[in-house]
């Protein structure tokens, strides 16, 4: 398990993004549960979910898992469409949803190609992952990152002005933009900030690479 307090996390981290090492994620769902508990999510509301991908050759054997939440995109379609101004993007790249300004029109839910905004039927407003910015302010990792037993889920930040990336939590890599992961789509060019590392080592890696070759053959 990762430590609660993250050493070296500056008081106001700049340009944060989640990282996911596909080689390490086992799809346990601890991140999903941690998020629900930390943010006291109502029934029917979910900010994080695990997508399991079975490759066709071994239909009953999950090949890799992705823990996905809001990707805090560089050009978020949810923010562009919101009529009430409830959504805003901070200098740290976190896309925040102010529930008090939300009409509950669900337009952001329609606009987001990643399924991030979630409607809270009881409150009548939209809700979404906010990167546990309250924990970041205290120098702690987001709850999903802290709960990950294999350190597959992490986050990156870039210090303002230095252009230097430093991985604070999670191990593995090297991390590339999520759009380079097979199967990950970015319709509308929202530029999700998520970074991933492909499955590495062993049979999963071989299957992944074989599929990449097969798909590249289809493109030609």
């Amino acid at each position: 398990m990762t430590a609660e307090r993250v050493p070296g996390l500056p008081p106001r981290p700049r340009k944060v993004s989640f990282t996911l090492d596909l080689a390490r994620c086992v799809g346990c769902g601890a991140c999903v549960l941690a998020c629900r508990m930390e943010n006291r999510l109502q029934a029917g509301v979910s900010w994080r979910r695990v997508v399991s991908v079975n490759l066709p050759r071994f239909a009953k054997w999950p090949t890799f898992h992705l823990s996905v939440a809001c990707h805090h995109c560089d050009d978020p379609p949810c923010l562009k469409g919101c009529p009430s101004g409830a959504l805003r993007r901070g200098p740290d790249g976190i896309v925040l949803l102010e529930s008090k300004a939300c009409l509950g029109c669900r337009y952001c839910e329609m606009a987001c190609p990643f399924g991030a905004p979630s409607f809270d039927a009881r409150a009548g407003v939209m809700t979404k992952c906010h990167f546990c910015h309250h924990r970041l302010a205290e120098g702690r990792a987001p709850s999903c990152v802290a709960a990950c037993p294999t350190q597959a889920l992490g986050f990156l930040f870039a210090e303002m002005g230095t252009g230097q990336d430093a991985q604070l939590e999670g191990v593995g890599g090297p991390f590339r933009p999520a759009t380079e992961t097979l199967g990950f789509q970015d319709p509308g060019s929202a530029s999700p900030a998520l970074k991933t590392a492909p499955p590495a080592g062993g049979l999963r890696s071989s299957l992944y690479e074989a599929l990449r070759d097969s798909l590249e053959g289809q493109a030609e």
Binding site: V53, G104, A111, P113, F114, G183
Partner: protein
């Protein structure tokens, strides 16, 4: 069965939006149809009071119905907070201004300086609203709401308005109006055909929002085509204006139900499903 029906009803949370888009398409379509006839067959540019009233009433009722969709209806006025930056804010503003223009013209006495300009403004904004009704849904998150679907409210709403006005025209103008109606019905059917093509390509690639409705997409589309083209054409040929109006009213409502019911969206899961099938995801 009653419980399942009620559950399905509640699951279709877009129902207030169906009412909003149908009523606004009808109201603005009536104004648009009047403009169309003024430009093509030469009727007076200023609509008579009953047309203004019906157009305004339908549009106003539609706007009220849209409030039912909001999770927080009392915060409704905030929808205009990002005017000029959000398509949804712009759409609502256009709709409200169209209503104001039409209503003002209705209220002002004949011969008043502002009566005609208000009507023309209301009519112009009604056409803009019909386009905005479609454009607001051209989102990267949705596979089936862009492209030709943007024009459906304009074509179908105007056709509906034309069906209402046709019988009120002097006999000498009716043949020209008939030809105009046929043209609109064919264009509307072509737009529907283009939407079907997009839908067919999206099924199995994206994620269905209402799978049970999507499972019968062929049947629903055929019904929509019958209501939107076949029955109205038969009605015009048989000189049964009531058939035309009733059929196009049904088409208007069914079209909006199918717009939301047959929606296929982009999603992370859908992208990876393609990978599982060994298919390259579209760029």
């Amino acid at each position: 069965m009653m419980v399942r029906t009620l559950a399905s009803f509640r699951a279709f949370h877009e129902l207030p939006l169906v009412l909003f888009t149908s009523l606004v398409a009808a109201g603005c379509g009536l104004a648009s149809a009047h403009l169309f006839l003024s430009a093509t067959v030469g009727i007076a540019w200023l609509p008579p009071a009953p047309i203004l009233f019906l157009s305004a009433a339908l549009t106003g009722t539609g706007i009220l119905a849209s409030v039912a969709h909001l999770g927080r209806p009392l915060r409704g006025p905030r929808v205009l907070a990002r005017l000029g930056r959000s398509r949804l804010s712009n759409e609502v503003a256009l709709c409200v201004l169209a209503l104001v223009g039409l209503s003002l013209s209705l209220i002002l006495p004949p011969g008043h300086l502002w009566k005609a300009p208000s009507a023309y403004t209301g009519i112009g904004l009604s056409v803009a609203t019909l386009l905005a009704l479609g454009r607001v849904y051209a989102l990267s998150g949705q596979m089936t709401w862009g492209g030709a679907a943007v024009f459906q409210p304009l074509t179908l709403g105007t056709a509906w308005g034309l069906s209402l006005l046709y019988d009120l025209l002097p006999l000498v103008l009716q043949p020209a109006a008939e030809r105009a109606l046929y043209l609109l019905l064919v264009v509307d059917a072509l737009v529907l055909g283009l939407r079907w093509r997009v839908l067919s390509g999206a099924v199995g690639v994206g994620e269905a929002i209402h799978p049970r409705i999507l499972a019968r997409k062929g049947l629903w589309t055929m019904i929509r085509l019958a209501l939107g083209l076949l029955i109205p054409v038969a009605g015009v040929l048989a000189y049964r204006p009531a058939w035309v109006i009733a059929s196009l009213s049904g088409a208007l409502i069914l079209d909006r139900v199918l717009f939301y019911g047959l929606a296929v969206k982009n999603s992370t899961e859908a992208g990876f499903s393609q990978l599982e099938l060994g298919r390259r995801t579209p760029d």
